[in-house]
């Protein structure tokens, strides 16, 4: 399996470590009134779609970038690869 790294081109998945659902970027606000419920959902409730899925992969044996890989879980087709840092900033995690 290959992951088309946005900076480095296609690299063997063996260089990477997978974490899972990219929703882990959206860590809740610890001071929210319902923080406990939000953290519970964040930690334990994940989608596991048969089809396109956004996943976090770490290029551990490479440039140490965390990536958001959009992958079809049925065909293994990699549709899109982004730097997770860019995704996080775009989602408002600038602090």
């Amino acid at each position: 399996m290959l992951i088309d790294h946005p900076l480095l081109g296609p690299r063997d998945a063996q260089e990477f470590v997978i974490l899972g659902d990219a929703s882990l970027i959206d860590r809740p606000d610890w001071q929210a009134g319902d923080a406990a419920q939000r953290f519970h959902d964040y930690q334990h409730l994940r989608d596991n779609p048969a089809g396109e899925h956004r996943e976090l992969w770490f290029h551990e044996q490479g440039d140490r970038s965390w990536l958001v890989v959009t992958r079809n879980t049925l065909t293994h087709e990699v549709v899109k690869v982004e730097l997770a840092r860019d995704v996080a900033i775009a989602r408002g995690r600038d602090r």
């Binding site: 399996m1 974490l19 970027i25 860590r27 809740p28 953290f39």
Partner: protein, 982 residues
């Protein structure tokens, strides 16, 4: 002549005479022979016994699809069972042995199985060995094991070496027959990077077995020239003797190259290489496999596939018999008759099931259109056949062709399903091919040479065109079209005797019918119930015939019946090839500490800790038990000073304007206010609130910290911190880099540690308790100006330091510390003494941090800051993790101080039954404390702090222990910490 059945011609090097043995009998063959062709040339027809019934069997094919001719190759530790004689290249000195018999191959005692065959039909095992239940282990299994299996393993370690490798190409061409060669030529000439792989030891595929012409010359000659041209191209890689075994994601293919299997000696080089091939496009030109027709006694040695008989005659110059008949349902089979007649072999008859005009006149042969073979005779080899009409024909070879099956296997590795093509009566690749793959030639159902060449050429022009190369569309090689008509025909109803479908697994037409009768309707169930299509050949010659029978039974079409799923590998791969170099000591890399050689020279005993080798203890002369060494190391350290290499701890260099704020987020406790020059213990939680690592972090400067992690979690902590940095708080200015390998770090512990360090650290640094107190850190120079770092931290509970120098000085520093410590009788201590001292101090470590451990269990709940956001703090507040009667880390000592303690024991109240509902916790770590003079333990027990002084039982059902223990504080020594502050 190398054997009585040797013909003229062929592609052998007759100047090279190779001597070999089969079952001890010496024979000769030539370079270019396979073991099968050499055996046939020497008139050896009986080469093995079948799996279940021990029927005599001979060579059936001329390729990797062979079901019968399985032999043991080589001897001693090199012996390899279940090797196909049809692909084993002959070399001088080859030794081969037939397999699967008791007694001798000719007089196999287990041939009696064949007489009781009516009782051994499909599902026999499932039905017979059901009762009585107690018989299974003691009677049935040993008996079955003794008679099952084919060849024998040597029982010795494999003496050969194996390797792996990685190849990259624009286009991978799988198969070097006409389609593959045409594809590779077109792509290679365009400048594309090409890998061309073929399982044979000569490229050319069927061109080498046929008398076809390409571009007006013999096909074999054209193929040889094509290979020469390809070999001259820099960007073309030819992989001979290489089977592409599987299609994996994103254009990755696995391939096994047999490098030295054809040589008597490997010459110290790897025997086989397992390649991972990264391709942008792939063309599957894997050809087709001929299939038989089932009829009574069709497994007798001498019955062979027609294409194989032709290959033996044309390529290997071997007559598969002296008088050969043909039994076919298609035009292609007639070519065997023609080629045999041309090479001078007597053709007895051509029996074609089709009612039509004969295709050709074969000199001397009877032509029987609409004929069928119903039975055969001959005890250990074919002597004649009987037709459905009852007529008997004496002959010693029968070439059978039931049509050809495209080799679609690799098209199915990503879930693709082959589709049935009525006009050629065969499955061809369906949709859903692996991305980037196209199929050409016979593999795509295009059986003629002309179309195969065109198809391969066109597929390559298109594939490399997509990649920006322009290949000449007009230079496809030319050939003429052969007749290939086929009429679907699977088995002779008038058969007398058993009609075999799968010769490797001894499955007959009757077995398939019976499986259907018993309710096995899915092809996958049929396969499991009858074992059809299993084992080394995976039913390459058997499956489609069996599907057809199944379809007949169910009244469905073959298309509706479908195939079983094709999975890698295409042909068998030795486990050793998958292992590659990862054997024995090379199973994984070894990490060595800077003082490794120093310790090894002093006879240290090492322990594996992950990939690390760490000194476990340092035995001294006269010490006969590890406890003596460990006790001495502990007492000496606590009494004076000890030195331990702690380099293995993970070290992470953390810098940035927001580094302190970042640490506040990844540690449960606060770090923002840590002063420069100070160290703090830190506890790390997972987001679910569970403790997963701990360590110390030192502040070297306003924007510069260095963190330590446990040895085991160094990689994980780094990964998690990168996640926090890039994904959770990308706005923070913080940067990480591992410094684990950069620094050699030693713990110097014990009351004399300061005195020892005063001799090492340059005098301008004040090491007094006032200037450099507990939890201080700083840059120091050592031994006259070598810059290093000093930390006043203690894992042992003693006055202690950790000193770090660049790793290149590590070994020298160890020696210097020991030399400086001589006057204090300093001792080097290993991980065992380290462990004893940490248990004495009640420090949690790996056995306590088990993925379920909360801060409260460790008595650290107050460390989890509620005033800041940090990973894990919200979910660590969940009520279930903070129960008042929850597990708490406590110390334990045996009531009878002479008893040792069992690690892993569960705590039970006195008198309580050992049952889950009575479980109160468990012992996590135990040690023998030389200072206290008795065993001590750490463990988790419910509501422990409130129960100090209570007696419970440490019950260990596995080791049969039941030890009364007293609950005490986990801090066995110096609970107030006076020593480490002194």
């Amino acid at each position: 002549m190398s054997g009585p059945f040797r013909l003229d011609g062929g592609a052998l090097d007759r100047s090279r005479i190779l001597s070999f043995r089969f079952d001890g009998r010496k024979m000769i063959g030539h370079l270019g022979d396979t073991l099968a062709s050499a055996l046939l040339a020497n008139g050896v027809r009986l080469v093995g016994r079948s799996f279940k019934y021990h029927r005599p069997r001979g060579v059936f094919t001329a390729g990797s699809e062979e079901p019968n001719a399985l032999v043991e190759l080589r001897s001693g530790a090199h012996r390899e069972p279940n090797t196909r004689a049809t692909v084993a290249e002959l070399f001088d000195g080859l030794e081969a042995f037939s397999q699967n018999y008791r007694g001798s191959l000719r007089h196999d005692l287990l041939a009696a199985n064949d007489l009781i065959a009516p009782f051994l039909s499909a599902g026999f095992y499932y039905k017979t060995f059901m009762w009585p239940k107690s018989f299974w282990e003691k009677v049935y299994e040993p008996a079955i094991r003794a008679s099952a299996g084919l060849g024998r393993l040597s029982g010795d370690a494999d003496p050969d070496s194996y390797d792996k490798g990685f190849l990259h190409c624009d286009l991978l061409v799988i198969g070097a027959g006409p389609a593959g060669l045409a594809a590779a030529l077109a792509a290679g000439r365009s400048g594309a990077r090409v890998v061309l792989a073929d399982e044979d030891f000569v490229m050319g595929g069927r061109l080498n077995a046929e008398t076809h012409e390409v571009n007006g010359r013999s096909g074999a000659d054209w193929a040889a020239d094509a290979v020469r041209e390809l070999a001259s191209m820099d960007r073309v890689r030819l992989l001979l003797r290489t089977t592409v075994i599987g299609a994996y994601d994103h254009g990755v293919y696995g391939a096994l190259e047999r490098r030295t299997d054809h040589l008597a000696e490997s010459g110290g080089k790897p025997r086989q290489i397992l390649w991972r091939i990264y391709s942008r496009r792939a063309i599957l030109a894997a050809g087709a496999t001929e299939r038989p027709i089932a009829f009574g006694g069709n497994d007798r040695p001498g019955v062979m596939l027609a294409g194989a008989v032709r290959a033996y005659a044309n390529r290997f110059a071997v007559g598969a018999g002296r008088r050969i008949g043909l039994f076919v349902n298609n035009d292609d089979g007639w070519r065997t008759a023609a080629d045999l007649a041309d090479t001078g072999v007597d053709v007895a008859a051509v029996i074609d099931i089709r009612d039509r005009a004969p295709l050709a006149d074969v000199p001397g042969a009877r032509i029987l259109m609409g004929g069928k073979v119903a039975a055969t005779w001959g005890r250990r080899g074919l002597k004649g056949i009987e037709l459905a009409t009852g007529e008997r024909i004496a002959l010693d070879g029968l070439a059978v062709s039931g049509g050809w099956n495209p080799n679609v296997h690799l098209t199915c590795h990503h879930g693709g399903k082959p589709v049935w093509r009525e006009d050629i009566a065969a499955f061809v690749p369906g949709g859903n091919l692996p991305a980037g793959m196209t199929v050409a030639g016979a593999a795509n159902g295009n059986f003629t040479t002309a179309v195969a060449l065109d198809d391969g050429h066109g597929a390559a022009v298109a594939a490399v065109g997509e990649l920006g190369y322009s290949a000449d569309a007009g230079d496809s090689p030319r050939a003429s079209d052969e007749a290939t008509e086929v009429s679907a025909f699977w088995h002779v109803r008038e058969s007398r005797g058993r009609a075999w479908l799968d010769q490797q697994n001894d499955v007959t037409v009757k077995d398939v019918v019976q499986a259907h009768r018993e309710g096995f309707r899915s092809v996958e169930h049929l396969k499991r119930y009858t074992t059809l299509g299993m084992a080394t050949d995976q039913g390459k010659t058997a499956n489609v015939g069996a599907l057809a029978i199944m379809a007949e039974q169910t009244g469905r079409t073959i298309a509706e019946t479908g195939t079983t799923v094709f999975r890698p590998p295409y042909t068998p791969v030795p486990i050793a090839a998958f292992a590659g170099r990862s054997r024995g000591g090379e199973f994984r890399p070894t990490r060595l500490t800077p003082s490794h050689d120093w310790a090894a020279e002093r006879g240290a005993v090492f322990v594996e800790a992950g990939m690390w080798l760490r000194a476990q203890w340092f035995p001294r002369t006269g010490e006969t038990h590890w406890r003596q060494s460990v006790d001495r190391e502990v007492l000496q350290t606590r009494g004076s000073v000890g030195i331990c290499d702690v380099t293995t701890l993970g070290k992470i260099d953390i810098q940035g304007r927001d580094a302190a704020e970042f640490l506040n987020k990844v540690y449960a406790n606060g770090f923002a206010k840590l002063a420069v020059g100070k160290v703090r213990y830190g506890l790390m939680l997972r987001e679910d609130g569970i403790c997963y690592d701990d360590g110390t972090t030192a502040r070297l400067g306003e924007t510069h910290f260095v963190m330590t992690t446990t040895t085991a979690n160094a990689v994980l902590v780094f990964r998690n911190m990168e996640f926090a940095r890039q994904c959770l708080w990308p706005g923070l200015d913080v940067h990480l880099i591992s410094a684990t390998e950069q620094w050699a770090q030693f713990a110097v512990a014990g009351p004399n540690s300061r005195a020892l360090l005063r001799k090492i650290v340059d005098p301008e640094f004040d090491l007094s308790n006032e200037a450099f107190p507990f939890m201080a850190c700083g840059m120091v120079n050592v031994c006259g100006g070598t810059p290093g770092r000093l930390f006043r931290i203690s894992f042992s509970g003693e006055l202690a330091y950790e000193i770090a120098l660049p790793a290149r000085y590590g070994e020298a520093l160890m020696a210097a510390l020991m030399a400086a410590g001589e006057e204090f009788d300093a001792v080097a201590y290993g991980t065992e003494a380290l462990g004893v001292m940490r248990v004495e101090k009640g420090h949690a470590a790996g056995p306590e941090l088990i993925g379920q451990t909360t801060a409260r269990m460790l008595g650290m709940q107050r460390m989890v800051s509620k005033k800041k956001d940090c990973i894990g703090n919200i979910l660590s507040e969940r009520p279930g993790m903070n129960r008042e009667d929850g597990l708490e880390l406590m110390g334990f000592r045996p009531l009878d101080r002479s008893q040792d303690l069992p690690s892993g024991a569960h705590f039970l109240a006195t008198g309580a039954e050992p049952a889950t509902e009575n479980d109160e916790g468990w012992m996590t770590s135990v040690a023998w404390s030389p200072e206290l003079g008795h065993a001590i333990g750490l463990g988790f027990i419910r509501n422990g702090h409130a129960r100090i002084g209570e007696t419970v039982r440490a019950w260990d059902g596995v080791r049969g222990r039941d030890v009364p223990v007293e609950i005490v504080s986990a801090h066995f020594l110096d609970p107030e910490g006076e020593r480490l502050r002194g």
